[in-house]
């Protein structure tokens, strides 16, 4: 669990957000869900631009929450979508899916301890 999230960054966020820390975590969970859903839809309809944008958004939010690995995978997914790499895209989408599941679990855990 500790590998998915940068705990020192999260602790800083906890300080910064004060009582709103749990809100931030909830927002992330909600948003990452939405962005992931969008990415998949885009993939299924073959809309590479939309897929790239979704990957970009998820990358940003994940980065801010301290999910560094997830952010990196998103970056590669974004890049692959932009370059229309037919095989790379599903590969990265897969990696993102798996990592996102882990990150969400980690965030829930942190959420519980608030």
């Amino acid at each position: 669990m500790a590998e998915q999230l940068d705990m020192s960054l999260l602790n800083e966020l906890r300080d910064l957000m004060d009582g709103e820390f749990s809100v931030l975590l909830d927002v992330y969970i909600r948003e990452s869900e939405r962005q992931f859903h969008e990415a998949n839809e885009a993939w299924e309809t073959g809309d590479m631009d939309r897929l790239g944008r979704s990957a970009h958004s998820l990358k940003g939010a994940s980065c801010n929450i301290g999910a560094v690995q997830l952010a990196d995978y998103c970056a590669e997914l974004e890049s692959a979508a932009k370059q229309r790499l037919e095989t790379r895209v599903p590969e990265m989408l897969n990696k993102v899916t798996l990592e996102l599941r882990e990150v969400r679990d980690a965030v829930y855990a942190v959420r519980l301890s608030c």
Binding site: L9, V27, Y28, R30, H56
Partner: protein, 569 residues
């Protein structure tokens, strides 16, 4: 700043918006959120934030376009835009800058870094605002100055051109820049129908140059019209300017006084380029050099009002200018120069229009250099007295009562003879008589002639035949100055006025302490010569103006009768 600074956070990620807003609010700013490009533009208009945190990549209108539109809408105001970006490619960052971005903030957001950037942007905003205020102040002052300059120019236009003297034998050119640069041209006629012209060049520009013009004009016009001598006018002008101008400011000037009856010009040049006298039909030039300090520098005790006198025959021309012409520069920055000026003046066929030639030459020299012309040029041609246009007659309301029968005696002794010119005072007194007012010119001329004879030939003992020799004039006036220094003697005026209903006579008797002269043979000489020797002109002039002239005793006493009748007008 007293009011809280407003920040707009535009980002399509809710996480990012929440994060940024929290950081920004904690730093003491007020914050609003926009969820995409359209929202951002709308909020910019309604919320009017002072700074914007903008996501570079958003659905709909992208961040770059939003930035461009925000900058356009902000206009002159400086609204810093910090791009929120995870873009790491250099050219993509360049796009941010091109779109008007002032800085970037990369993810993950670090509150320390964001705080530093916001502070820096805020400082820039304030600086920009201060500069704008200063710029506006300067613009306002400038507009004010321009207005003052225009007011000064309007004053100049009334004062600094050739006055109310519109005579064909005086040609003048004084360009607007020359006026701005302090050039002044005044011209007036005195009671004896002499024409005085004063060309001046004040130091400074615009208002600093304008300051001295008014008092100078007042003194010049006032004293000329009262009949004061050139030296007296210059002394008074110097005294006034020295008293009122700041140290380091002065007026280069040249005063020329034309006497058409005697055919002479009396001049004084303090600081202007040499004037030039061209003799009709000859190639030789007479230079009227600057021999004195400009006006306004030294006090009365050190001021030298000594003038020089040169003969001028009808057709002779006097040309003078200020240094604007000499210093007029072409595209390469070369000056027009003294040599060019002298060459054109000397080389021209005397029948050719020197004035136009000089003008053409200077304008050709300046050419397309883009420099404005700073040119003041005056040319005065000597004419015969009968060619003088009649003076503008002032209708003085005549009082019904006034001195009708009176006597006045006025005696001048050495100190007064040396120091003062009595003519303006005497003229002033005579003008108290209403009937004499319309003859002011003739009367003054007569007074001047009688006084000059009494003083110079009588008391000072100068030989007027000196004047007709080659160097005569210069020698004569040098001798005059010397003799004045230790004179003994007196000049005495006696006035008597006899007035009847429609006519009258003014009887003037002048007596001097000199040895007199053999008037009988001189008078008969005059009868028989047609040659207009200078020393004969005085008598002829008196003869033409007065009803009678009678010399008495040794010839050191003369009585003239100036008569008029209402029919003469």
């Amino acid at each position: 700043m007293a009011e809280t600074i407003r920040i707009l956070v535009a980002d399509d990620s809710e996480v990012d918006r929440l994060l940024l807003s929290t950081i920004v609010r904690k730093e003491g700013y007020e914050v609003q959120q926009a969820v995409d490009g359209f929202d951002a533009l709308q909020m910019f208009e309604t919320y009017r934030p002072q700074m914007v945190l903008l996501d570079a990549v958003m659905p709909g209108i992208d961040g770059f376009e939003v930035a461009r539109r925000i900058k356009a809408q902000a206009g002159e105001e400086f609204v810093p835009i910090i791009f929120l970006t995870s873009l790491t490619e250099a050219d993509e960052l360049a796009r941010c800058v091109e779109a008007g971005g002032d800085d970037f903030l990369s993810k993950p957001y670090n509150k320390v870094i964001l705080k530093a950037k916001l502070n820096a942007m805020d400082r820039m905003r304030e600086m920009h605002h201060t500069m704008q205020l200063q710029r506006d102040e300067i613009t306002h002052h400038h507009a004010h100055l321009v207005q003052e300059q225009e007011a000064a120019k309007a004053v100049f236009d009334n004062v600094a051109h050739a006055g109310n003297l519109n005579v064909p034998f005086i040609k003048t050119l004084i360009s607007p820049l020359a006026i701005f640069n302090g050039d002044v041209l005044l011209a007036s006629r005195n009671p004896a129908d002499e024409v005085y012209v004063l060309l001046g060049d004040f130091t400074g520009h615009g208002l600093t140059a304008a300051i001295g013009t008014m008092p100078l004009a007042e003194i010049f016009y006032g004293m000329t019209q009262k009949g004061f001598l050139p030296g007296e006018i210059l002394r008074e002008a110097n005294r006034k300017l020295q008293g009122m101008l700041p140290k380091g400011y002065f007026c280069c000037a040249m005063l020329v006084a034309f006497n058409f009856h005697k055919g002479t010009v009396e001049f004084w040049n303090g600081g202007l380029p040499q004037g030039v006298l061209l003799r009709d039909g000859q190639k030789s030039l007479v230079h009227l050099d600057s021999k004195h300090l400009p006006l306004g520098i030294v006090g009365d005790d050190r001021f030298d009002a000594t003038t020089q006198v040169v003969e001028m025959a009808p057709g002779d021309r006097l040309v003078m200018c200020t240094d604007g012409i000499i210093e007029a520069r072409d595209k390469q920055g070369n000056q027009f120069g003294f040599e060019a000026f002298n060459r054109i003046v000397a080389g021209a066929d005397p029948r050719v229009d020197i004035f136009e030639r000089l003008k053409d030459a200077v304008y050709r020299h300046i050419g397309s250099s883009g420099r404005e012309d700073d040119i003041t040029l005056v040319e005065i041609t000597m004419v015969l007295p009968e060619d003088l246009p009649p003076p503008a007659n002032e209708q003085v309301a005549e009082s019904v009562t006034g001195s009708e029968e009176w006597r006045l005696s006025y005696e001048l002794r050495p100190r007064s003879l040396r120091a003062a010119n009595p003519l303006p005072l005497l003229q002033h007194v005579l003008m108290e008589v209403p009937q004499l007012r319309s003859h002011a010119g003739s009367i003054y001329t007569v007074l001047a002639e009688l006084y000059s004879n009494a003083l110079e030939h009588g008391v000072l003992g100068l030989d007027s035949s000196l004047k007709s020799s080659a160097n005569g004039f210069a020698d004569y006036y040098r001798a005059r100055a010397l003799a004045l220094e230790d004179l003994q003697g007196y000049v005495r005026f006696d006035f008597r006025c006899e007035i009847e209903a429609a006519r009258g006579s003014l009887i003037i008797t002048v007596e001097d302490s000199g040895p007199g002269f053999d008037f009988r043979s001189r008078l008969s000489e005059l009868e028989h010569t047609s040659r207009l020797a200078y020393h004969g002109r005085g008598m002829r002039l008196l003869r033409s103006l007065c009803q009678s002239i009678e010399y008495r005793g040794k010839g050191n006493e003369v009585e003239v009768v100036f008569a008029w009748s209402e029919e003469d007008g």
